[in-house]
Symmetry: C2
């Protein structure tokens, strides 16, 4: 049974059936459910290629992940939010995993050529990022999670990384800290550059000289936090407070502090950036951990929203969105010991 | 430029070009690289549908995830391993997120009809699982991560959940524990049933009567561990040792033990099942945590291997694989206090 036969059998137009089965927002949920049920009863297997010819849709959005980094906790939270939003319209997610930037660009070309996705989500822009230009040339709709160093003339959604770390650093300075360590994300990632600027500007405004031995960068894993904190503690003038780029980093910092026989909060203060995981909770730690907080999952949901609007044909090319970041103070931040 | 024109321009057959761009293992890596480079230079965008006509391949495998559960840390580790293996052949992963079993079955029908995937990965089989029969009827190749309650006449890969918990329980009995709590996965999931059987049989062999107040079940999140442990500690005869279904569960158990003013290892022993995450490390906890250990990521890599063999046309219908599980003893397990 093909689309034509099925549409005839249930007395609806081919366009309505195609749109319903491709997850178009224009079709009422009720109608979609009815058509899905009839398709099952009559044994009609919607052929995506045929549906594509009628609607011009693949019914999927694409995301390219880097091998070994793509499925980290942060990206996963984002994907969970995205998937839950897209699921309401039966839009699938096509994941391509690649080894390097070169392969990533080849993957976009492949995706654009094959018409297997209707739009692409690009994430973690770097300072010199050619990917947005490549996608523009390929004429495939896309949205960026994060933003390019230039601000970018394409749709994007980002959190206020600069403001988050500026405020966290300022708070630590307010309560008397003068030596503040920072364990940042990978160099060259725009979000990490924004965070560094926030850190440096807060120091500068108070006349505190920037110390390069108090700044490290790397992946958001326990081990980087542990080693960075060990290095900090071995300095002749160690930091009395530390900014950790993620909750995973914070776990490593806490471990290094404990290993050195010191007490978090009392001997060393800590503020971590929290993407909000349900399995690593700053409130449940001992002591509880102060955080700059912004839900990665919510960002995924919102990007899903914007994508659905793009797929519905709305012009989202001018869409820019910056989310403020909360500073949540808990037991891990106290004035330095005298 | 279409496939025919491109193949002619570079002096290769359409079949070789198609196979190279669809990630066939038969094509040498070197040839594939060369063709990819030429495609970029000449501006040829491989059309997946055309390639599909030549090779019968979609170049993707499908996995259906349940809303709110799909992107948990366990599944994510599995996906990371899977993606890294498939990436070597440029095979993508198509993710559909659904709300319930009914929608999941509809998604399989949709995937089979659209020919957008070459095979499907089915995971977390339940005791009465109709999905394998549905996939057989749809005549789409699939492999199960886990196994059906009946053993199953289809390819599957599972860990020895029964043996893991049987051994962990037996060890706790060996060192003198008589009241052992178990915080299991969700009821009705085959792996959780296997674990419960391992627990019950180990008790039975020592003549220890099973206590239903010492068995809870639920999602693998911190909160379930915390609440279960609080309940255990409020019993008139609380357990002196606990089996936690995951590292997330273990974090909740540790929190409840601390909150009660007790000491892990000294007052309560703990063995957790560890899927091996790089951000929650049993070796880094205080005290270090004894575990039954099996890498979820390795399972993903291996399922990727088997899928690639299926896609290469090998008959894998008789493939069954059970992995043994290590018992790693650390500081959290000691004989009970006298």
């Amino acid at each position: 049974m093909n689309l034509k036969e099925f549409a005839k059998a249930i007395g609806m137009s081919q366009t309505t059936v195609s749109r319903a089965l491709s997850g178009y927002p224009e079709v009422k949920q009720e109608t979609r459910q009815k058509i899905l049920k009839l398709a099952q009863e009559l044994g009609y297997h919607p052929n995506r290629s045929a549906a594509g010819l009628a609607t011009g849709r693949a019914g999927a959005v694409g995301i390219v992940l880097r091998e070994g980094r793509g499925f980290d906790p942060n990206t996963t939270e984002f994907m969970a939010g995205l998937a839950n939003r897209l699921e309401t319209r039966q839009i699938d997610i096509l994941i391509s995993v690649v080894e390097d930037r070169q392969q990533e660009l080849a993957a976009y070309q492949r995706l654009a050529g094959s018409k297997r996705v209707d739009a692409i989500i690009l994430h973690t822009p770097t300072v010199d990022d050619e990917r947005m230009d490549v996608l523009k040339k390929l004429k495939i709709p896309f949205i960026v999670h994060g933003r390019g160093a230039d601000g970018g003339d394409y749709p994007w959604l980002d959190i206020d990384n600069y403001g988050a770390i500026y405020r966290a650093t300022s708070y630590l300075l307010d309560i008397g800290h003068r030596h503040i360590g920072m364990i940042n994300g990978s160099r060259g990632d725009v979000f990490a550059e924004h965070r560094e600027q926030g850190y440096r500007n807060a120091l500068k405004e108070r006349g505190i000289v920037f110390r390069s031995d108090l700044l490290t960068s790397g992946a958001f894993i326990d081990d980087v936090g542990y080693r960075s904190m060990q290095d900090f503690l071995s300095l002749s003038e160690p930091p009395t407070a530390v900014l950790a780029g993620s909750m995973m980093t914070a776990l490593g910092v806490m471990r290094a502090v404990r290993s050195a026989g010191l007490q978090l909060g009392a001997d060393v203060s800590l503020i971590a950036h929290d993407d909000v995981f349900n399995y690593i909770n700053a409130d449940n730690m001992v002591p509880t951990v102060s955080t700059t907080r912004s839900s990665m999952r919510d960002a995924g949901v919102r990007i899903g929203d914007i994508l659905l609007q793009m797929l519905a044909g709305r012009d989202m090319s001018g869409h820019r969105e910056i989310w403020p970041v909360e500073l949540v103070l808990r037991e891990s931040t106290r004035p330095p010991r005298k």
